[in-house]
């Protein structure tokens, strides 16, 4: 199948391209940019007038809820959401049931995903068996099965000796360890940022120190072991400052922020809005502002959806009983654009945070377009709008704090390996 994308505006941050260019696809790969290769006859032509053509988005955290939580979502439903959101590469956290701690499970996930033939999946393996923080997982075997990194998701290791050894072992192979900064045995009953809002609403608080204490120890252990770290879902200004300092020191450390924490604060909890029950908690407006600046200045490498579908039964509960999480795959691009518009950034700077930067963190060649590279492409209308409501969301999880909003940008087409997987016909 040969496809040509004509009259579009090509934006590829990896190669500093931001100009009108046609794109030619053959055999699932980019065949040429600008001028058609000799003898190229397209089977299909897509007119991208007024549209932006960019690499398919790369998301550092998408919970597809398989295996174990199929009542919340399935690979099928969430892959459709990814396609509708222009997201063509997904890193999958290991907190499935059972967790991704053995090669067979990882192979099964990769096999199921491949059969569906939608987004590419990049499993993040469990750092310890069953995520229990006691025994190391078989990291080398898991990498052979397809894992790109290791993580504990939201289950911090309580025993510092085990964490130290896990980082040493991962560093032996040069694997990157992704850690969510959570201090064990601290603020365990907390459900909201420990501040004025939680105090007023009588919600048990989670102090910022729950993030910073963990970061202090992670960074010190990285210094000792030489492990490569990726800090997931930063939530506070203080946490960001610690990561910034660690980077300045020369440690190999990257980090991301979620779309929710980039745009929202604890004020959005309003009258106990359970959509704002998230992990980590939404913090103050000052924290939110710091995260927005940190992403713009490059201290935060990537923006992710932290896609965690939760059903209505999990949300229609009092705030502290509600399940944490929100759907996000279909909001990643619009919320990246919204952030960029607010800060006056160009498309190349905005899209860098959702394409090439996250691709580098997972060590993938995705997130960029050059001749010979996989033709994973997102085509979107920058003037269009995405309306977030329960009927338009394709994800099985219909819950997000952004329900009811109109957000900038609208995905028109998504291609994976040169095949049209999503097209919006108006």
């Amino acid at each position: 199948m040969k496809i040509q994308l004509t009259n579009g505006h090509l934006v590829d941050p990896a190669h500093d391209i931001d100009q009108p260019q046609d794109l030619f696809i053959a055999d699932g790969k980019v065949a040429a940019i600008g001028r058609a290769p000799d003898g190229f006859v397209a089977d299909r032509s897509i007119d991208a007038s007024g549209q932006v053509v960019c690499p398919g988005l790369v998301d550092l955290s998408a919970r597809l809820r398989e295996p174990g939580f199929e009542y919340l979502a399935t690979l099928e439903s969430e892959m459709e959401a990814a396609m509708a959101g222009g997201v063509t590469s997904l890193a999958i956290p290991p907190d499935t049931d059972p967790p991704l701690d053995e090669p067979g499970l990882v192979e099964m996930l990769c096999y199921r995903a491949k059969k569906l033939n939608r987004a590419h999946v990049y499993p993040v393996g469990a750092l310890t068996e069953r995520l229990e923080g006691k025994r190391l997982s078989e990291m080398a075997e898991l990498v052979d099965a397809g894992c790109v990194a290791f993580s504990q998701a939201n289950h911090p290791i309580h025993d510092t000796q085990v964490l130290f050894c896990a980082l040493q072992y991962a560093a032996t192979f040069g694997y990157r360890v992704w850690l969510q900064p959570i201090t064990p045995h601290f603020a365990q009953e907390g459900v909201a940022h420990d501040g004025e809002v939680a105090t007023r609403l009588g919600l048990p608080g989670i102090p910022t120190a729950a993030e910073t204490i963990a970061l202090f120890s992670y960074i010190e252990l990285a210094r000792m072991t030489g492990a490569k770290l990726h800090i997931t879902r930063l939530s506070s200004a203080e946490g960001l400052a610690l990561v910034r300092a660690a980077k300045a020191e020369g440690l190999d450390i990257t980090c991301d922020v979620s779309i929710n924490h980039l745009h929202l604060s604890d004020m959005d909890i309003g009258y106990f809005n359970a959509h704002c029950r998230l992990n980590p908690p939404l913090r103050s407006q000052r924290d939110r502002d710091a995260l927005q600046s940190g992403l713009a200045e490059g201290d935060i490498d990537a923006l992710c959806s932290n896609h965690s579908p939760v059903d209505d039964d999990g949300k229609q509960l009092p705030f502290s009983e509600a399940e944490a999480g929100a759907t996000g795959l279909e909001l990643l691009l619009p919320l990246a654009l919204k952030w960029g518009q607010q800060r006056g950034l160009g498309l190349i700077d905005i899209l860098r945070r959702v394409t090439i930067n996250p691709a580098r963190i997972i060590g993938s060649k995705a997130g960029q377009l050059s001749v010979g590279s996989r033709a994973d492409i997102c085509i979107f209308d920058p003037q269009g709008e995405t309306t977030v409501n329960r009927s338009t969301l394709r994800s099985q999880g219909k819950n997000t704090p952004f329900l009811g909003l109109n957000l900038p940008g609208r995905v028109s087409y998504t291609l994976v390996e040169g095949q049209l997987m999503f097209g919006r016909i108006d």
């Binding site: 420990d194 004025e196 105090t199 009588g202 009258y271 359970a274 229609q316």
Partner: protein, 319 residues
């Protein structure tokens, strides 16, 4: 901004919290309560205001005392009262909170009095009623988690007004476990809304939530300093399970430092009143000499509590 407690005319639709309630409505409730105090003095302690209305006491957390005061208030207004201790009933069989509410709505409930261990549970019910267009059903929060206990706050305000008349010249101290106290949060909201110029909270740092000063109160850790020249002392109950653990070493030590004793009370104004929401822990937060002394108004609080709850129910039931 949308206020889930008010209807489109700005009238009380539900009583969920005193935080965010306009001063006019607070005052109107206190004014409405005043004549109801006389009903208890009559030979027939009943008014026909809520005749034919069904009020469901929906208690997801056990509390005989609070439930009883609501029951008495409803019965004095001639309503039919149905008591449900959901703590020992259907939610244990897996029914969700909103399923329980839907079932009771199908039984033609007019009002829910809700007690729940989770902050915000009555908001969830009120929002569900709004979303399902059941605007004729009202919710009264009878205590939710650490968040609010608005009728307790109102009866406290009624008591203060009864003894001190003018809120705008008072210094009020709230003493004890503010961190876990829905009563304290409702008191702070009401006192600041009604114009009390100085609200103090007194207790150890382990029992003070973050950002308390932003709620318009002065925080004291030294009880003697905090009680100096106050007009009203409001003691809070210390739950047994908080007495020994990471928050406090023991009930005895708490009593020694923050228990209200005659010598500490002597630092307050000579005409200061002493309040407590009950049930009291004598010898933990309050000395018996004080609890039974001339300055204590703890039993009148209970009596006023019936009138205040009648006022809230009658205002909601009229709509």
């Amino acid at each position: 901004m949308f206020n889930p407690q008010l209807n489109a005319h700005g009238e009380l639709q539900h009583l969920l919290s005193l935080d965010g309630l306009p001063r006019e409505i607070l005052t109107a409730i206190l004014d409405t309560a005043a004549p109801f105090t006389e009903v208890a003095e009559r030979e027939i302690k009943k008014l026909p205001i809520l005749r034919g209305k069904s009020i469901f006491n929906l208690f997801f957390e056990n509390s005989t005392r609070t439930r009883t005061t609501f029951e008495i208030a409803a019965k004095r207004l001639s309503a039919d009262v149905i008591n449900l201790n959901v703590a020992t009933s259907s939610t244990n069989k897996g029914e969700t909170l909103l399923d329980t509410v839907d079932n009771l709505c199908a039984m033609q409930a007019d009002m829910f009095v809700v007690r729940h261990a989770s902050s915000g549970a009555p908001y969830l019910i009120a929002e569900h009623l709004r979303a399902t267009d059941r605007h004729d059903i009202h919710v009264i929060n009878a205590g939710d988690g650490r968040h609010a206990h608005p009728t307790q706050g109102l009866l406290d305000m009624y008591t203060i007004r009864h003894y001190k008349q003018d809120f705008t010249k008072l210094v009020v101290a709230i003493v004890g476990d503010v961190l876990h106290s829905r009563v304290a949060r409702s008191q702070i909201a009401a006192l600041t809304t009604l114009g009390v110029p100085e609200v103090r909270v007194i207790g150890p740092k382990t029992l003070m939530p973050t950002g308390l000063d932003k709620l318009g109160v002065r925080v004291f850790h030294d009880m003697r300093e905090g009680l100096r020249d106050v007009d009203v002392v409001m003691m809070l109950r210390l739950q047994n399970e908080r007495m020994n653990g990471p928050l406090l070493p023991s009930g005895q030590e708490f009593f020694k430092v923050w228990g209200l004793t005659p010598d500490k009370l002597a630092l307050a104004r000579p005409d200061a009143i002493v309040m407590h929401p009950g049930p009291m822990n004598r010898g933990v937060e309050i000395d018996s000499t004080v609890a039974d002394g001339a300055q204590a108004v703890i039993l009148p609080q209970v009596t006023f509590g019936i009138a205040v709850r009648m006022a809230v129910m009658s205002m909601l039931g009229r709509g």
